[in-house]
Subunit: 131 residues, 3 copies
């Protein structure tokens, strides 16, 4: 199994970071011709998603929506960030991405995003390839 840990810095409480280039680099570096990799977030207040890579206004709308719909859910948790924990479970902490001809098999408008729900923080994500 090949694994790589990538560190990123997030700048806002809720923020999407496009990590498609980083995944593409991993595929090139390891000369993965065909198969799939998995991106996994080892945190409980962030997630991984695949979504629109063209109009950044989509990210603006999504970040605003999740801030509104899932707000004020903290009752007992002393850190006050239960909203971020819920969003991590709703979005999920891992995603498989398939590869063929040494290229990511993503749709025309799909990019891979690290989704911060409790930033700003220094964060990691892991990329796994099992060959």
């Amino acid at each position: 199994m090949i694994k790589k840990q990538v560190t990123i810095k997030t700048n806002c409480k809720i923020e999407m970071t496009d990590i498609t280039a980083s995944i593409n680099d991993f595929v090139k570096e390891n000369n993965i011709i065909s198969g799939h990799i998995t991106v996994f977030v080892p945190h409980t207040t962030a997630g991984i998603t695949i979504n629109e890579n063209c109009d950044p206004d989509v990210q603006y709308d999504l970040n605003a929506a999740i801030q509104t719909i899932f707000t004020n859910i903290n009752i007992k948790h002393f850190e006050g960030n239960s909203q971020a924990h819920l969003l991590s479970s709703l979005i999920g902490v891992s995603q498989d991405i398939f590869i063929d001809d040494n290229k990511l098999l993503l749709g025309r408008w799909q990019g891979v995003y690290f989704w911060e729900f409790d930033g700003p923080r220094t964060r990691q994500f892991n990329i796994f390839y099992e060959g």
Copy 2:
């Protein structure tokens, strides 16, 4: 890696299409005895889920609920379909399904669904098997 792209036509804005038979066909055609396949949607306004395959009223209730809970979230995106993008991230664009004895290892009431959030459209989903 074996891959197949299937095209479907959706008829409503929000609609679940049962694709279990199509996945079953793929497993039979390729004589997959054991392992798993992955269904992946190359779109950013649709998703894949596993849910109740018996009472169609479940689908009615789920479609109505997501239409209500996640409505009116569009602020900036020019296409006006940010709700569909959010639902795609919440439901997810891929799902693994395990196989044994050449049969899908689904629970008694589970079916696999393509979930349209911005139809009607002509759509694709990909099925991957890595052997």
Copy 3:
């Protein structure tokens, strides 16, 4: 493929059960050194998630939040549990967990949870390893 079915008993309508120890047992029993396992729930009113394993107040807040945000969505389904079906699709019925050096590659605060949305019931989850 190695597979194991584990039975658990849930005690509340909405409840998270930590199944990390059970997954760890599977990894030890089968001496899995490296790779990944998949946990899959064969039910349509429960899910699998990875979240905070330390402060149980996080679970309290998450259970309260999903009960509130997704309540009263039942319109047609005769069993009256459409909320549980929606939550199953939002959280998802499977999760991959990676392993290296015979240990689960989870983050410092991550545990694996069976999430009941329509209990109390006797439930199963399946663990798959493809070698």
